[in-house]
Amino acid sequence: MRRGLIRAGLQRGLIELRQTVTNVTDIIGYLFPVALLLGWLRLIEGDELPGSSVSLGAYSLVSSLALLLVIGGVTSMAQYLTMDREDGTLLRAKATPNGMVGYLIGKIVLVAGVMLITCAVTLLPGALMVEGLRFDGGTWLTLLWLLPLSMLALMPVGAILGSFFQSVRGAAILMLPVLALTGISGIFSPLSALPGWLQGVAQGFPMYWLGSGLRSAFLPGEPEQALATAGVLALWALAGLAVAPRILRRMARRESGSLVAARRERAMTRTM
């Protein structure tokens, strides 16, 4: 019986993944940041990272991938949840036996798929444009544990945050803390340029470690911090997986038809 439920969740995720990759608005949403990034890479072509043999392009490409993955894992998970609450999809899941479990499996599959697509559309053209990326056995081995672990660390955070927003518009402000973290996580410039306490703050969050892990996978000569990376990400994953189900259950318990109707009413008056 569990198997049937997992199959239903997988099916759900794959159907929604197909919907998003065939939807023009969504496709533009995936490609737009990549286009910006490629434009930026073109501008800095040939520059080198000060005090290092790594090209600035390679550094920027890999770091940006970390940022895009965090946006994919946290922000899109939160927005999907808010959207599904607003239009009643979540209530429908609640009205179906085991529907919430199937729904969550589906969302995990969907967000994981979106994150993998993000990797592909960023790395494929990016690798053709920048020099000095490393693609060897070590790269793939690192990705093999780093990506799933990052997903486990990021998605519960997105789900928890998504539970607190009553409207899609509210969830959009999530971009602000993500961008603030980007500034201090060594995504666009090496961390050593920042005061020590800020570096400490950044190192408490997954974005820093995802960036560091990806750089060690793709850039030759980058320090390998596998143990610390895995440790911090695993802590986030464990904490998230412990808290998220409780928060999600509480959120789901409150869902009812009149709540969805009231939310819709509010959304309608806003657009008028």
Binding site: M1, G4, L5, R7, A8, Q11, R12, I15, E16, Q19, N23, D84, D87, G88, T89, L91, R92, K94, A95, T96, P97, N98, G99, G102, E255, S256, G257, S258, V260, A261, R264
Partner: protein, 303 residues
Amino acid sequence: MAARSVVDTPGTGPVIEVRDLRMRYGDKEVLTGVDFTATAGEVVVLLGPNGAGKTTTIEILEGFRRRSGGDALVLGVDPADGDEPWRARLGVVLQSWRDHSKWRVRELLQHLGSYYANYSTPGKPRPWAVDELLEVVGLTGAEKTAIGRLSGGQRRRLDVAIGIVGRPDLLFLDEPTVGFDPEARRDFHDLIHRLTDVDSTTVLLTTHDLDEAEKLADRILILARGRIVASGSADELSRQVAGESEIRWTRDGQRFVHSAADATGFVRELFRQHGEAVGDLEVRRASLEETYMRLVREAEGAA
């Protein structure tokens, strides 16, 4: 039919049993003590003005909302602690859905149906086969349409289809026929009769359409000011209200209309006086609409 409901309903108690159901939001009392029961295969219609507590009542029984007081048993289980096997025996159609707009009709019915496969019983194979279901609700030909592109009436048919895809023992319908044209409405009424006759599904529905209530209901509950002020078939209700009946007749080519509380006595007197001269006699009891308006007005005046 009886045998099947025994298989699917452990214990042969009522399908819904509600006693002194109360609901308070802050210091506003929405339900002030609702009592009723529904038995297998029965169609119970909740009628009442806006804000009377119809939706709140249904949401409590669906297990979507916690009550403030009183007792409720739905399929023998307190809806506040309903588990997944319990959930599998319910069908829910809310007032407005706009979920899954990117999904295609067949895709969604097939997907949601798959959750019910574990709860199939010999007497009731679950879920309903999608092709047959599409035909039953009148959506054949729309199976590949994206749900966001359905017309209002089609969307409502889909909502009903999703509500019954698990072949529920108990179906909740909150204003199901809003947006239906007369033909769709008649199809829907046929579907409800089919569900109750063939599957012995119990149906609890709310509506504003008195004509619909009269056609569908085995029993009508009139909810006003947070409690049930009257219950019975349309006929029984109009008897409960000491309303006046309307009597029409012709005499010597002239039409007459008269209202009387005691129609039988009036007609007896009419014949005694005029005998053979009376023609085209018609006696009409108060309509459900009149009964309803009077009951609601009395309840609201009393409070």
